[in-house]
């Protein structure tokens, strides 16, 4: 048996003939921030709903905190806080009253609920708006109130579905920082879904890439890029003088020989005036030294680390063609 706090095994969800989630295996460890990354309609929300027992899987099993979410959703929901995308509140209730209501649904007494709600509102920076009606909250405030709402039951896991949707960049950064800070302080496991690569990249310990109902890859970002670009997980772009376009064939050959002599370099590609070098390890220092020693002037060197953007991109190229329908 896996040791993860969330364990999905062969999870499948079918809507008629449409396969929303296809034999998904996923394990999330305690205390980590896990990003579920994928385009709209990839089945992220459906997977989350199944984790909470809000919808029944067509096959496979979901275990959250060691409890089967399908047969015992109430026990799971005691331990898991869920922030749906585009969360709504009772608009004619104040933010504080909304939180107190949630707390009381979790069997917290009124007095305790009130003190807990007030301290949480302070933590998410909504103290001033505590008695303002939730209908008058801005999008960002609503999202922060949602976070407080999730935390009021003292969960072990929080699941956030597209938490940054529709907030301005400044707000996104603050919100994500808040999530990370809280999760570190409270030892929370965080699962967040998003289609924003950069945001996920900033905060997640590990990510899973989810396309067409299948998990295509999983791991931290270096591992992922290694998995994907296994031959050349590092790439350097180099410009030299005399420029690669104008130099003689002789010089080109020399340059090629010099660079390929550097240990770790696997591919060299001339395109226009730039040279792209693929290598298995970070060889930037060696390559630059070799170029300079060979008598060329190095005018530009960029160590290109594969971000999620590239990973994502590459998956879509592959995913669209073969990755999904394997």
């Amino acid at each position: 048996m896996g040791s993860g706090i969330i364990e999905l095994r062969g999870l499948t969800k079918r809507y008629g003939t449409f396969l929303a989630v296809d034999r998904l295996d996923l394990s999330v460890n305690k205390g980590e921030v896990f990003g579920l990354l994928g385009p709209n309609g990839a089945g992220k929300s459906t997977t989350i709903l199944m984790m909470l027992g809000l919808t029944e899987p067509s096959g496979g099993s979901v275990s959250v905190c060691g409890i089967d979410a399908t047969s015992n959703p109430v026990e799971v929901k005691k331990r898991v806080g869920y922030l749906p995308d585009d969360v709504g509140f009772y608009e004619d209730y104040s933010g504080l009253d909304n939180l107190i209501y949630t707390a009381r649904l979790n069997r917290i007494s009124r007095e305790e609920a009130e003190s807990r709600a007030l301290s949480l509102l302070k933590r998410v920076g909504l103290s001033d708006a505590a008695s303002k009606k939730a209908g008058k909250y801005s999008r960002g405030m609503r999202q922060r109130l949602g976070l407080a709402d999730v935390l009021i039951k003292n969960p072990e896991i929080i699941i956030l579905d597209e938490p940054t949707l529709g907030i301005d960049p400044q707000g996104v950064r603050e919100f994500l920082d808040l999530i990370v800070k809280l999760s570190r302080e409270e030892q929370l496991t965080v699962l967040l879904s998003s289609h924003h690569l950069h945001q996920v990249q900033q905060v997640c310990d590990r990510v899973g890439i989810f396309v067409g109902g299948r998990l295509l890859a999983m791991g931290d970002i270096p591992t992922l890029s290694h998995q994907l670009f296994n031959k050349d997980s590092f790439a350097l772009t180099v410009k030299v003088k005399p420029a690669a376009v104008t130099c003689t064939e002789n010089e080109k050959q020399k340059l090629k020989a010099v660079i390929s002599a550097v240990p770790g370099v696997t591919t060299i590609e001339f395109s226009g005036d730039t040279i792209t070098i693929g290598c298995t390890s970070d060889a930037a220092a060696d390559v630059s030294r070799a170029i300079v020693n060979a008598g060329f002037d190095l005018i530009y060197l960029n160590n290109k680390e594969f971000g999620l953007d590239e990973i994502y991109q590459r998956y879509f190229e592959a995913g669209g063609a073969s990755g999904i329908r394997k």
Binding site: E75, D85, Y90, R104, N106, R107, D161
Partner: protein, 337 residues
């Protein structure tokens, strides 16, 4: 084994704690919220105003007509107090007819946006992700509205009784009082049917307006068009001049049976019997049956016996509606907005 014992003990302790500190069961927290929301809503206040107005209006007409209606040979004279609820000079319908008319509106108004408004506000997925069973939500909606309706009707009934008592000075007998209580309970049941139906539509339709319109359409159909259709059917199937007695009786039963498919007919049958003790049968009576009968009012037990089928029918249709809504709500996949 030890661990099971420990868990059991813990459970007991939790149970104990929840009973002995202010930690009500989530279901009652939800009911409380529903009741609070209804009472504070404009919709309810407007309906309350309407119903209060009709109450006072019908009370006024019945009291002003009371002296004229006291007739020496009337078997209902013993039940003068009940006339507060049934008497009318034709300008304004009596109390029980008003309730029969406005009750459905009240039920529909309290239920038509029960589930879809939560869905549209995005609160449904948030609430169902709390550690509660899903049916709590719909049960709480129903219970909350039912509490509001019963409180309202009993308050109104007692208000009419009290005012009648003050104005006429005639105290109700114990039987009259019981009859009125049964009438009020019946009214609550009747409104509960419409409430359930509108909750059902609120689950089925995403837009609150659609569900409200559908509920009102059903209500209009049952109160107006159904009668028209029945009278058409009645004309078509009417037995000829030379029909035997059995044929005529069968025909009458057939038409009455058709009419009684409608909850409003059941309600008006039942209330008439309860509030007018002189009503001895809801179907056709032959001369032999009437011959020799003393024109006296029926005792309460007999009246209740007479309306028992109606009562059962109303309860059954209410439960049917609830079962449908329960089923479709439990099957529904709850997504955010």
């Amino acid at each position: 084994m030890k661990s099971i014992n420990a868990i059991l003990k813990q459970e007991v302790r939790v149970e104990y704690a929840s009973k002995h500190t202010a930690r009500p069961h989530p279901f009652w927290v939800m009911v409380q919220k529903e009741v609070g929301d209804h009472v504070r809503s404009w919709r309810f206040l407007i309906l309350l105003f309407l119903i209060l107005l009709t109450c006072i209006g019908s009370l006024y007409t019945s009291i002003s007509n009371l002296p004229k209606s006291v007739n020496q040979n009337d078997p209902q004279n013993a039940f003068l107090f009940l006339k507060l609820f049934t008497l009318s000079d034709g300008s304004l319908p009596p109390f029980h007819v008003f309730i029969g008319f406005l009750g459905p509106l009240l039920g529909i108004a309290l239920g038509f946006d029960a589930v879809n408004s939560e869905q549209n506000r995005g609160t449904l997925s948030r609430i169902t992700s709390q550690p509660i069973h899903r049916d709590y939500l719909i049960n709480a909606k129903f219970t909350g509205s039912l509490i509001v309706i019963s409180t309202l009707f009993f308050a109104l009934g007692f208000l009419v009784m009290g005012l009648g008592l003050i104005i006429t000075g005639i105290p109700p007998t114990a039987e009259e009082f019981l009859r009125i209580i049964f009438f009020l309970a019946l009214s609550v049941l009747y409104v509960a049917f419409w409430l359930n139906m509108s909750i059902l539509f609120s689950i089925r339709f995403k837009q609150a307006a659609t569900s409200a319109l559908t509920s009102i359409a059903v209500w209009l159909f049952f109160t107006i068009f159904y009668q028209i259709i029945i009278s058409l059917v009645a004309k078509l199937t009417m037995p000829g001049q030379g029909a035997s007695e059995a044929e005529v009786v069968n025909y009458q039963h057939f038409i009455l049976g058709l009419l009684r498919l409608v909850p409003s007919q059941l309600f008006s049958d039942a209330t008439t019997t309860l509030l007018m003790p002189a009503v001895r049968s809801l179907g056709p009576l032959t001369m032999e049956q009437v011959y020799g009968a003393i024109p006296s009012p029926l005792p309460l037990g007999q009246s209740l016996l007479l309306v028992w089928p109606q009562l059962t029918g109303l309860i059954a249709s209410t439960i049917l509606c609830f079962a449908f809504s329960y089923f479709s709500f439990m099957k529904k996949e709850i997504r955010s907005r």
